[in-house]
Structures are given as C-alpha cells and as structure tokens.
C-alpha cells in the first residue's frame, strides 16, 4: 500500500467552521435575549413608577392655602409588592423645602411639568430607579413648584433579567449541541458520495479497468470523470502492451523452434562429447527462452481475458470435470515421456461452474505442468476433483521437491521461483498465471506440504465467480 499524505479531513474542517459559526450565533442569542430582557424590565419598571408617580401627584391638593400630599399607599404598595424591592419617595416644593419622604433622595432633572424623567442612581447602598416629575401648584404664597420622586430598588429587575439570561444560556447551549450534532450528520451525509467512490475503487478486481458507473453529486463528478479517463488510458495501454508482447513472442517462436529442432538433431547425431555438452547447454538456453516466451504470452492472454471476465464477458457454464479430464489428456504425452502416471479421481457426473473455460484450463494446465516438471520420473501425480460446499476443489499432489512453507506466498509473484527449483527449466510465471485466474474467479490457490515429500496444490473454484 503506498502512503497517502492526508491534510485535515473535510469533515473536521466543515465541523470546525460550522462549530465556530454556531458558537457565535449562540453567544449572539444569549446577549440579544439579555438585552431585550433588560430593556423590557426597564420599561415595565418605568411604567409602574410612572403610574405610581401620577397617583401620588393626583393627591396633591391645596387645603387652606397649604399644600398637602395624601400619599396613596396602595400605589406605593404596588411597587413594593414585587419581590423584596424597597420603595423611596420624596416630595418637595420650591420654594419652601421638603414636604414629605426622604429628603436625601436626589430628584431627577425635570423640565416640563407632568413629563416624568427617569434615571438610575445609587441610594443608600442600592441601585435605584428614580422617576421624577413636577407640578405647578397655586397656594397661599403664589405659584410653587412641587417636585415628586419615587424610587424603587432594582433587585427584582435583576432577578428577572438573571432568570431570562439563564434560560437564554440554556437555550444557547442546547442550540449549540443540536446544531453541532446536525452538522456532524449532515457533513457525513454530504461526504457519503466520496466514501461510495472509494469503496467502489477499493473493492475492484486488480484487472478491472471498466469505467466507474456511479451516480454522484455534480461536485464529485469531475473526480469520477478524471478517474474514468485514467482507467480508459490504462486500458488502452494494457491492450497495446498485450499486442506488442503477443507479436514479439510470435516473431520469436518460429526461429526458436528451428534452433531447438536443429540442436536436438545435432545432439542425437554428434559423436563428440565436448560438442554434445555444448549442444546440451544450447538446448537448455533455448528451452529456457522458449518457456519464458510462451509463459509471457500466456500471462498476457490471461491478463487480457481476466479483464474481460471481470467486466462480465466470457462467463460460461463450464463443466470443470470435463475440463480437467481434457487438460490431463493433453498433458498425458508430456507426462508419459517421463513415465509419470496420473492417478485421477473425478466425479462421475458433471460439475458446473460459471467460469471462463480457457482461463480455468490455463490454471489447471500450469499446476499439472509444474507437477510433471518437478516430479521424479516413474512417479505418480494424484489428481482429485471433488464437489465442495460452494463449488469445486481440485487437488493436485506430486512427489516433487516441494515448495518451502516460507515461500508459499512469494512463488505467486511474477518471475519468482522456488529457491529449490534447481536446473528445472521455468519462467517464474506459471503460478502467477494460476493466481491471476483464481483471483479473477474469486477462487483460492492453496499450497501444502505432502507427507512423504512433494506438494499438494488445491484450487478452489466457487460456483459463482462474484460473491
């Protein structure tokens, strides 16, 4: 797996941005609500004060030329009734001095009669709201200016505002949590097409170069288009490469055949030991070249057909039983040259798979061919085909040199041969071909060491190549 350098995830970026926005909104909500509450409380208090002030002012009368104030306690009681608020009042005249109340309560600065003014000040250690108005009164002396103030402490106002602010804070926190949770889900949902895309790419077979057929939002479409363009170029390259390999191998084959046949003939008729040794070396080299050429071509063919198979082409209902029998019959001559027998056990009835028969033949042929190559002469190769739970198991067991357990995975790689292959001619592509075919068919290639020496190769073919 190549390393991918990632920056911060899209989701956490989205969440951070949205989170900051939500936090600002929640703070705005809190302070806004608080300001509105303060304003409302002030208005309410001012109205109450104003009403009380009016009620007091109504009671101003001139009796016998003297100004008297008959305080309406009910009006004042209204002010005191709300919570623990204290109420102060002062009525004074000008000229003439105090009439009643707290002489140290500062009057507000009134200009017009009957127009109350409001101000907030400290009085006897408390913050108080003071409403002040004045009236012109005609008494014995003449016109006097009577100034009336009523003050109310602000405890219950503070209580109300604190209550509202507490509620606003709770609402803000709840909003923040809900919005963040929604943003989490929404960002996950918005990024789902990307996950779908990576899943579609991640679960692809290695040879699948089909264009991606995904319905994605238009923002993701350019990515899919770019990927499909890349896949298409890859497919063209694959095809070109295959054609090149096939042509090249074909051109090399005929001359190789001539060299090999001539060398074999010369070897048979030569009487000179030194010359024969040279011819043997030559034959070995030709064999090695021929083998590699054949296998490279077969590998290209398998790669090409695997690609097609993955795209859904060439899926045929195949009787693996007949296929194995036919392959063994073809390899029979090669085995016979070394006096190797097949001990074959096949089911009596057909065993149907959905497969590419040519690819499967190629896999079976390579495994059996290996068994023949590495087996000692006059030995027996066991071939057993059995129906298994979801397909067929083909066992091919030989008495050859075996594959070291540590190399069971490595020998599937291209151009890798078992370290004990010795002088046996080979290309290192046979098991790669088998592995490719098995992967394409969603099957398995398994190696085991055979008691008494040799290799047990198992090919498991599922009935259906797609899971």
């Amino acid at each position: 797996m190549s390393e991918v350098y990632t920056s911060r995830s899209l989701r956490s970026r989205l969440l951070t941005l949205l989170g900051i926005a939500f936090l600002l909104l929640a703070l705005g909500l809190y302070f806004g609500t608080r300001a509105i509450a303060e304003n409302a409380a002030d208005l309410t208090q001012d109205h109450t004060l104003s009403a009380s002030l009016n009620a007091v002012a109504e009671q101003l009368s001139v009796v016998d030329g003297e100004i008297s104030v008959d305080l309406p306690y009910a009006a004042l009681a209204l002010l005191g009734a709300a919570g623990d608020d204290r109420v102060f009042y002062r009525v004074s005249r000008e000229p003439g001095g105090e009439l009643t109340g707290y002489p140290d309560l500062p009057h507000g600065d009134t200009r017009e009669p009957n127009q109350p003014v409001f101000n907030t000040t400290q009085f006897r250690g408390d913050a108080v709201r003071v409403a002040t108005t004045h009236r012109q009164v005609f008494d014995r002396i003449g016109v006097s200016r009577v100034t009336l103030s009523i003050a109310q402490s602000r405890d219950s106002r503070t209580d109300i505002i604190d209550g509202v602010a507490r509620n606003a804070a709770v609402m803000g926190v709840v909003f923040l949590l809900c919005a963040t949770a929604l943003a989490w889900f929404a960002s996950g949902n918005a990024l789902a097409p990307l996950r779908k895309l990576s899943l579609a790419l991640g679960t692809r077979q290695p040879h699948d170069t089909r264009a991606l057929q995904l319905t994605v939002p238009q923002e993701v479409a350019p990515v899919v288009q770019a990927l499909n363009g890349f896949l298409s170029r890859l497919r063209t390259n694959l095809t070109n490469t295959e054609t090149l390999i096939a042509d090249a191998a074909h051109r090399v084959r005929t001359p190789l055949t001539a060299v090999k046949a001539q060398a074999q003939l010369a070897l048979q008729h030569s009487e000179d030991d030194t010359q024969r040794q040279r011819l043997r070396n030559l034959l070995r080299a030709v064999d090695q070249t021929a083998r590699s050429t054949n296998q490279i071509l077969d590998h290209a063919m398998v790669t090409f057909r695997s690609d097609g198979f993955t795209r859904g082409e060439r899926r045929e209902r195949t009787d693996i039983c007949a296929l194995v029998a036919k392959t063994l019959k073809e390899l029979h001559y090669t085995a016979e040259l070394r006096d190797i027998n097949f001990d074959t056990s096949l089911p009596t009835s057909p065993l149907w798979l959905h497969a590419d028969p040519i690819l499967v033949t190629e896999a079976v042929r390579n495994v059996v061919d290996n068994a023949i190559k590495y087996s000692p002469p006059e030995s027996t190769i066991t071939v057993e085909l059995t129906a298994s739970a979801h397909g067929a198991d083909l066992l091919i067991a030989d008495r050859g040199c075996g594959i070291a357990v540590a190399e069971h995975d490595r020998v599937r790689e291209r151009f890798v041969r078992g370290s004990n292959a010795g002088k046996v001619v080979g290309s290192g592509l046979g098991l790669t071909i088998v592995q490719n075919v098995m992967a394409t068919h969603n099957g398995r290639l398994h190696f085991a060491t055979r008691p008494g020496g040799g290799t047990r190769v198992t090919l498991h073919f599922p009935t259906e190549p797609t899971p």
Partner: protein, 221 residues
C-alpha cells in the same frame, strides 16, 4: 509409415523430417498447401503434420477441406500462436492433436506415435529375432508366449538399441536420446534402465552387452 510434413520453415522442416526418418518413417516434406494437396492426391499417407501459417494460405482451411473429404488420416497441427482459443479452434476443425511451437522433438515423436496407434489398422513396424517380437509403436515386447508392455523410457531405449543393432552406443549418447527433457540425470540412470531391459530380454535371442570403456551394444546371443 508414410508421413506428410507441411512446413515452410527450412530449418524446422529439415530437423523434423530428419528425426522422423530416424524413427523409420518415410517423409514427404512440402512447403505449401498446394504441394500438400498434390501429394495427397497422388498417394496415401499415414499421418499429416501441418503447420498453420503457410505462404499460400492458412493451415486451418486445409484442415477443413481435408475433413470435408471425409479423410480420416490423423492430423497433428503445429502452431506458433498460443492464444488458447486457437488450440480449441484447430481441434474443433478436426485436428487430432496440436503442438505449440517451440516444441520438443521427443514430444512430437510421442504424439505421432500416439496418433498412429489410435488410428490403428495399419501394419505396425516391428523387429523380430528368434522368439522375440517387438513393436516400438505400441511398446509391446513379446518373447515366446509372454507379452509385456514397456514403460515409455524403456521402450524408447530399446528402440534406440534395435535401430542401432550391433553398434556401440555410449552412455552419454543414450542419455541425450532419452533424457533431453530432464535436468539432472546421471549416467547411473542409464545403467538402471539397461539393467531393466536386460531382465526383459532374458530368454530371447538378443542381449545388451557392455563394451568396456565405450558403452553398450545390442547383439545376438
């Protein structure tokens, strides 16, 4: 046996016909399909070895024509392609067997034998001496009343001895004839096979004698 070899490469044609002649067959070697048709029109052959890519056409067309005539002469196809689908198609067109180039002469030999054996009918080439009757084609060795079928390598070795009756063959020569497909065989292997053949030949009029420092020779008792 009379073979028709249709192959346009001189080197391959030469080597194949030399090898098959060594095995005691008569070879008509032609390089074009037209010549092949001419040979078939004039004489009967026991086996056709046919290349696919020829200067005047595709061997598969020839094969189709051949089968259309209801001619049952076995055909072994040589092909330079290895697209597996080709193998199928030549067999479908009526080829009895095929070999992918580059092939081994021993394998070509083995397949020719098998095809002739399968087609049957024709009188088999044989060697006789006294009470011994040996058919290399079918690997049958009969001495007196007892008949045995030889293993492939035993058969090939005995055939070499019979074809060089009376001549001394070195171990190295025998090794090359028999084990060209094998990587690690020593001259001891030849001794083992000679030992077996001596057992098989007991009670017959011929024997394999050791010629000191030179090798072996098949001679009359």
């Amino acid at each position: 046996m009379r073979f028709l070899l249709v192959e346009d490469s001189d080197d391959i044609g030469h080597a194949v016909s030399a090898r098959l002649s060594d095995q005691g067959h008569a070879i008509d070697w032609v390089t074009t399909l037209a010549d092949a048709d001419a040979v078939l029109a004039a004489s009967d052959v026991d086996l056709i070895v046919l290349d696919i890519m020829l200067p005047d056409g595709d061997g598969r067309d020839f094969l189709a024509r051949h089968r259309a005539r209801a001619d049952t002469t076995p055909v072994l196809v040589l092909t330079a392609r290895s697209q597996v689908s080709d193998r199928v198609s030549v067999l479908d067109l009526g080829a009895d067997d095929y070999l992918t180039k580059p092939f081994d002469l021993d394998e070509l030999d083995a397949r020719c034998r098998a095809l002739i054996r399968r087609s049957g009918g024709t009188a088999q080439e044989h060697f006789s001496a006294d009470n011994l009757h040996y058919e290399p084609q079918s690997a049958r060795l009969q001495i007196g009343d007892s008949t045995r079928t030889l293993r492939n390598r035993e058969n090939r070795l005995l055939e070499v001895f019979f074809r060089s009756h009376g001549r001394v063959l070195s171990k190295a020569q025998l090794l090359d004839r028999l084990f060209s497909l094998d990587a690690d065989v020593s001259e001891n292997t030849i001794e083992v096979y000679v030992g077996r053949l001596r057992q098989h030949l007991e009670g017959s009029g011929v024997r394999i004698e050791t010629v000191r420092g030179a090798g072996y020779r098949l001679s009359d008792r």
